[in-house]
Amino acid sequence: MADNMKFDLVSPERSLVSGEVSSVQIPGADGDLTAMQGHAALITTLRPGLLSISGPAGDDSYVVSGGFAEINADGVTVLAERALHQKEMTQDLYNDWVAEAKAAHANAAGDAVDGAAKLLADMVAMGGHIGLDPNQANL
């Protein structure tokens, strides 16, 4: 546990976290994974979910959606299309995201349907995870 590695969480608009952490839990497209110092080099895409970090500065979690994580010998870099501190995530915002995923699902055609359905399901699951009500978004 003692070994720390570099961690960056970046969204297109700003850099959210940049510092030392001991472990990062990443919501990868194929399942959650926890990266620690010495993890094999890996690039994975993200599904909407909760990214948790723990390190010398304490534990923290962020809501991320879209993008990818890059793990290498230097550390972990997460590029999320949307990233927010968990505290900043409100029900209203969440409703917007779910509504957007729903709209995408409704408009998807052909091969895109599965992807959109998965995105929507992930969105809803994420809501349950962080204590926001996905059903409210139906209103």
């Binding site: 497209a29 690039i43 994975t44």
Partner: protein, 291 residues
């Protein structure tokens, strides 16, 4: 004397113009600082993103299974030009320079027998291109209501472009925007976004061999559309910074010119006033002499 009053009015009017241009310059300077900050904040994301995409693109390039966004449609007939300008003028040659670059590009494409389609972002570019290429417009994005540019704006534009690409409406897409160098220098730039031309990383030794999850192709298929949005976002931010920089220097010039004009008018005013006084004196003296 009427002449004197006219001059006085003109000086007053130029003075108030100078006040306005001075205020605009200061507003532009404040906005420029914010725009530059936004552009700087966006840089790490774009750099990392492009690097990883470049890496992925390089590894897929030879395999023949590259997605369409990377490999293109295999044809080169229909070109889509996304011309990004500002919503407002009073910024020197900013809008005109971008429009000019787009125009020459469009003309050479037309001369080569290609079909050209144009999407305009920002009102000024649309006005500028309407006369020559009005019949080529396929869409327009209005950003006048947007106070601060967000990634969502770029996503909307990217979505529009990608939908058109999926519907086979064009083969090659190029964006036109102004790259911000400093306050006095902005370079109008054309950048091809579809098929994507990513710089493949030269330092192959730096990278450990990555595992990919899911497969490289799937990641690439997921990331390429986002890459389009990222490039558009970068362009929008650069453009915004360029616009404010350009406006700032234009307004600085205008303020200085107004100052020069006021000086000239004041001299003229004083001269005519002096002439009036001299005239009156001559009249009095010659009147006194006549007695």
């Amino acid at each position: 004397m009427a002449n004197l009053k006219d001059l006085k009015n003109r000086i007053a009017s130029v003075k108030s113009t100078r006040k306005i241009t001075k205020a605009m310059q200061m507003v532009a300077a404040a906005k420029l600082r914010r725009a530059q900050e936004a552009a700087e904040n966006a840089r790490p994301y774009a750099e990392r993103f492009n690097a990883v995409l470049g890496q992925l693109a390089a590894s897929v390039a030879g395999s023949g299974s590259a997605p369409r966004l990377l490999a293109g449609t295999g044809e080169d007939k229909v070109h889509l030009l996304v011309v990004m300008t500002a919503e407002r003028g009073l910024c020197g040659g900013f809008n005109a320079n971008i429009a000019k670059l787009a125009k020459t590009h469009a003309q050479s494409l037309k001369a080569a027998g290609k079909t050209v389609k144009i999407i305009t972002v920002g009102k000024k570019g649309r006005d500028n291109l309407r006369r020559d290429f009005g019949d080529l417009f396929v869409s327009h994005v209005d950003l006048s209501a947007v106070k601060s540019l967000g990634y969502a704006n770029a996503q909307d534009i990217a979505k529009d472009v990608l939908t058109r690409f999926d519907a086979d409406e064009f083969d090659v897409a190029t964006i036109f925007y102004s790259k911000f160098v400093n306050v006095v220098t902005q370079i109008p730039t054309a950048q091809q976004i579809i098929p994507a031309a990513y710089e493949t990383e030269a330092d192959a030794d730096s990278g450990a061999v990555y595992d990919y999850e899911p497969s490289e192709e799937e990641i690439l298929a997921d990331l390429l559309p986002r890459g389009v949005a990222t490039q558009i976002f970068t362009a929008l931010l650069e453009n915004n910074a360029s616009f404010n920089g350009s406006q700032m220097s234009a307004m600085d010039n205008a303020t200085r010119n107004a100052g020069d004009m006021i000086d000239k008018l004041t001299i003229q005013y004083n001269r005519s006033r002096q002439a009036v006084i001299t005239n009156e004196l001559i009249e009095i003296i010659s009147g006194a002499e006549a007695l």
